[in-house]
């Protein structure tokens, strides 16, 4: 255990905590611009979090302890997920413990907690949202795993830090299988983060909503934690995308100086990713729920094709 690793790890976690709402604000900003609306401030998500943290938290009579526990569990899962994904440096003490499969497991654990908490109160919207969330989850997780395995096949490791180290610091090479996996990952990213073709992030109290239906009973600091966890999830996904498909510029292990230039590079890549997300959301229309399995099956099959393409062209 070296001190630099600890420093890099805590810095990465702190960065994720601070940047995640900013990324959400950035995407909202571009969405508003692209749709000819006047945009909310870039700092709006922080204000919302601040407001919610100071509000009283109201819990329903029928709520079990699980309902109170869920926001902390979900938040913890997402924070841990952000800690595993290498953003600035590949020298992360957490990385050897949890690999890409554990990462998918963390997302699944958070999903289970959210769905259980939503069903806990017994409202119609909550159980409806929980069921939809589980439907999405069981289709999105295999697709995510297949995308991650695409990178694993190339680098020979399921540890994200090793993947980034191998992809980012070896001689520049174009991997056709990663192009296919990239398309699949984009589809999963949209589905997992309640983005527009699958779910509308800007809606409350609508029959089509998924993510908001799960949070309907939460208020105050619980809701703030849930919202923060959602933006952390988006940040984690964006960072996975950056790590797998644009890994250049991440600092080598044991080089504290490398982390300084890595920060603006990361910000630049995330900013571009946010704009791309806003563009996709503006150009596409919300799908019917029963089209979603089709959408995610496409993602899964594309990732499998990536594996096949690697088998054909890789060696």
């Amino acid at each position: 255990m070296n001190y630099f690793g600890l420093l890099a790890q805590s810095f990465a976690v702190l960065l994720a905590l601070l940047l995640a709402p900013l990324l959400k604000g950035w995407v909202d900003l571009w969405r508003a611009w692209l749709q000819n609306r006047s945009a909310p401030s870039l700092l709006q998500p922080y204000r919302v979090l601040h407001k919610l943290f100071w509000k009283e938290s109201v819990v329903a009579d029928a709520a079990s302890p699980l309902f109170r526990l869920a926001p902390y569990a979900v938040f913890g899962c997402m924070l841990l997920a952000c800690a595993i994904v290498p953003t600035l440096s590949t020298d992360l003490p957490f990385a050897p413990v949890a690999d890409a499969i554990a990462l998918a497991g963390l997302f699944a654990l958070a999903r289970v907690f959210m769905s259980l908490a939503a069903m806990d109160i017994g409202t119609a919207f909550g159980s409806l949202g929980a069921r939809r969330e589980m439907l999405l989850g069981f289709l999105a997780e295999p697709a995510l795993l297949m995308v991650l395995f695409n990178a694993s096949l190339i680098t020979g490791s399921t540890s994200l830090a090793t993947i980034v180290e191998t992809l980012g610091h070896q001689q520049f090479a174009i991997h056709p299988s990663l192009a296919v996996a990239g398309v699949a990952f984009t589809l999963v990213w949209l589905a997992e983060n309640a983005r527009i073709p699958v779910d509308n992030p800007a809606t409350h109290l609508e029959l089509t909503m998924i993510h908001e239906a799960l949070l309907l009973e939460y208020s105050g600091r619980h809701l703030a934690l849930m919202e923060w966890a959602a933006s952390l999830k988006m940040f984690a996904y964006a960072c996975i995308g950056v790590a797998l498909f644009f890994p250049w510029g991440v600092a080598q292990a044991q080089s504290p100086a490398g982390m300084l230039p890595a920060l603006p590079v990361l910000l630049f890549k995330l900013a571009l990713g946010g704009v791309a997300l806003a563009l996709i959301e503006t150009f596409s229309a919300k799908m019917r729920l029963f089209r979603v399995p089709e959408f995610l099956a496409t993602a899964f099959l594309l990732a499998v094709i990536g594996l096949l393409v690697h088998a054909l062209l890789g060696s």
């Binding site: 520049f172 174009i174 398309v183 099959l301």
Partner: protein, 219 residues
């Protein structure tokens, strides 16, 4: 480490495969034409790249021919056709897209296995892409089989021709110029004749659904 050019070529091949699957699962005719145009553009890029690597000027002509024909002329003709048939917003009820794509993956595996021994014999730089080109041919073929309307079938036919062209480029650096010119003319004329057919089908049956053609006599 393979050289950068052949990596880009492989990337273009992967793009062809993605586009083939996108066409397989696309319901809207207009989007289908856009995808077809993109596929044509990919073939042009691949051909031009092979021409640049192998320094064969004929391949440049062939790329230019593809560009004019498959990126500009035929998509333009298709756009005009669907406008005059008034089907540009038509939706097709495809049966179960995930199943379709699963069958597609099986086809890809078959194509890859078929192409592996051929690719080992080939000496061209793009031999790895042969399997993908073969897979694209089979996928376009399946698209033709599974579609019920006439215009998507025509697009499937054209996509198959694109894939064959790509296979020829990747396996043997393209066909002789005369053959290529002949095929280009064939595709163009075929396209025009099919256009006339479509109007006739439509006049006879008031629809472009080719299931009507299966009846032998009037009820």
């Amino acid at each position: 480490m393979t050289p950068l050019y052949s990596q880009i070529l492989n990337l273009l091949a992967a793009l062809m495969l993605i586009l083939a699957f996108a066409m397989l699962s696309q319901r809207r005719i207009l989007s289908l034409i856009h995808l077809f145009t993109l596929q044509g553009l990919t073939v042009v890029c691949a051909t031009a790249l092979v021409a640049y690597i192998t320094r064969q000027p004929e391949l440049y002509y062939s790329a230019a021919l593809t560009l004019v024909l498959k990126v500009f002329l035929i998509p333009w003709l298709l756009h005009r056709l669907i406008q005059r048939l008034r089907v540009q917003w038509d939706l097709e009820t495809l049966i179960n897209i995930p199943t379709l794509m699963l069958v597609g993956i099986v086809l890809v595996i078959i194509a890859f296995n078929l192409a592996a021994p051929i690719a080992q014999l080939a000496i061209s730089i793009a031999r790895g892409a042969l399997g993908i080109a073969l897979a694209c041919v089979l996928l376009s073929f399946m698209m033709m089989i599974t579609r019920a309307k006439a215009v998507p079938q025509v697009i499937g036919f054209l996509a198959m021709e694109n894939a064959l062209f790509f296979a020829a480029t990747s396996a043997t650096y393209g066909m002789p110029m005369m053959v290529e010119l002949g095929i280009a003319l064939d595709v163009l004329v075929g396209m025009l004749i099919l256009g006339v057919f479509l109007f006739q089908i439509r006049e006879q049956f008031d629809s472009l659904d080719i299931h009507h053609l299966e009846k032998l006599k009037e009820d």
